[in-house]
Chain length 296, copies 2
């Protein structure tokens, strides 16, 4: 069968959402890179990741807004659409606290995300700009609203329910761990597809969390996180970069600056850099090889 | 004198344009980094560069458009404004061939750039999407129109006249070099503030070019370019990164991808990375220390 040349979508948005969900149930951890603009998203696709996510912090700052829900909604959705348009793999987006305080507002956000081309979202359980956790009840309602909004549009949006209880909960570390588990269970039971405890790093803690949930768990890269093969043994479903790729890129710009100002050389600028032609190609969807008929 | 806290502009746009021009006449080469989005621009400012430029290729691709003049004009100017808003140092922009085929269209572009907050521009002498040089006469008219447009708004826009004759001229290398010199002389005499022969890399060629112009010359970083101190000796006025910082950043994303997929580790993601707080601060203009009254 000849699929023709690009641009074309191999699968519908519904199929993309389903295949993204299946990536969390293979028994091996999904490595999910977080992009912030068109070329970062396309480099990750070219490198063979089966899906791409966004980092809201990286994306918003790249457009001149701090992390949170400060960015005008239209600009946020436009930015999501830009990435979805240029990718041929599924795109899951970081949607802060759902860009809304009520389940109805979250529902509207999810419908707009579907229309922008996303097939999944992260939704967090604290109000941007504060360190205060939302009530479990409200967050459960927001998660149910997000799931229902996708279903209403016949796209099974993958809802990754983030909890910041490990950071912003009450009491000592053990108490906050207990709150994170309790919240994750509530979000799972509300219909979320994956839970994402922010700040879960240590192997023993990860193992305990996964064991208590028996459900897909997402961890974020940071210093000290177990390697991918260890995460596999711990039963983690997804490891994502969070904003780290943008932190690393900005770190590189600092090294570039210091080298050229200090030594007057350009090694960091030219080392392992891509070319003009490669950069320019990143503005267009990936050209897929034309499928050849099988020889049977 | 207390300058107050941000946001404030230390100098007017006119003063910024004048100080940017003066940076080309100090007798030492101006190192000008090219950014493409808010955080890349702000990192360069934080690192102490006295001015920031854009790379049109990097900026356009980051928004999903190939290099050239494909990007809708409004989106281009909006992107320039985003960077100018967040910087407190002068911003010079890469304006392709002036976003127009006629001097009148170039004049309109420059007026919009001034309103977006830029104080200088690069204008190239071939039509985007082709490898054909424009006639010298037409380019001279475009440069005159660009200068006049700035003056009409009382902002002495710094016009950096790029020539691609070394790449797209006729004949052998020597013939093309001659054409590049001839074009640069014509652009200088038309009122440009600096000339920018694309593809000038070798020390002996740079020396000859600078000698024949007796005028500010801009060279671009690439492999084999003499070091900054050598460029100083050669009399170069400006060395700019072109799109190299974005090439390098995309190269880093590739190394990140290959490491996490191959070895299952995250060293390139976390090495020398900036922090969340540092990234978030890049969305706002730099906080300048409040000037203290002198002790006299």
């Amino acid at each position: 069968m000849n699929h023709g040349t690009f641009p074309f979508k191999l699968t519908s948005q519904r199929e993309m959402a389903e295949s993204f969900g299946a990536l969390h149930r293979r028994g091996t951890v999904l490595i999910l890179p977080n992009a912030w603009d068109v070329p970062s998203a396309r480099v990750f696709e070219d490198e063979g990741f089966p899906a791409v996510a966004t980092s809201s912090a990286a994306m918003m700052v790249s457009l001149g807004y701090p992390d949170g829900e400060v960015i005008p909604r239209d600009e946020y959705f436009k930015s999501v659409r830009r990435l979805a348009t240029v990718l041929t793999v599924p795109l899951s987006v970081d949607a802060a606290a759902g860009f809304g305080r009520t389940p109805g507002e979250v529902s509207l956000t999810v419908r707009k995300l579907v229309k922008a081309g996303a097939i999944g979202l992260n939704i967090e359980d604290f109000q941007p700009g504060t360190n205060r956790l939302l009530s479990v009840d409200l967050q459960v309602q927001k998660i149910k609203a997000a799931k229902a909004a996708g279903e209403g549009l016949k796209v099974p949006m993958f809802v990754n329910a983030r909890t910041d209880a490990l950071r912003f909960g009450k009491g000592d570390e053990d108490a906050r761990f207990g709150q994170a588990v309790q919240r994750a269970v509530a979000y799972r039971d509300a219909g979320a597809d994956c839970v994402y405890p922010m700040g879960l790093v240590e192997a023993s803690r990860i193992k305990e969390f996964v064991g208590r949930l028996s459900f897909p768990v997402n961890v974020m890269v940071r210093k000290g996180l177990p390697t991918v093969s260890e995460l596999n043994r711990l039963g983690v479903a997804r490891v994502s970069f969070g904003p780290y790729a943008s932190y690393a890129a900005m770190g590189l710009l600092r090294r570039i600056s210091r080298e050229v100002q200090g030594k007057g050389t350009y090694e960091h600028l030219v080392h392992d850099a891509i070319t003009f032609e490669e950069l320019n190609r990143l503005a267009s969807p990936r050209e897929r090889p034309v499928a050849r008929p099988s020889s049977r």
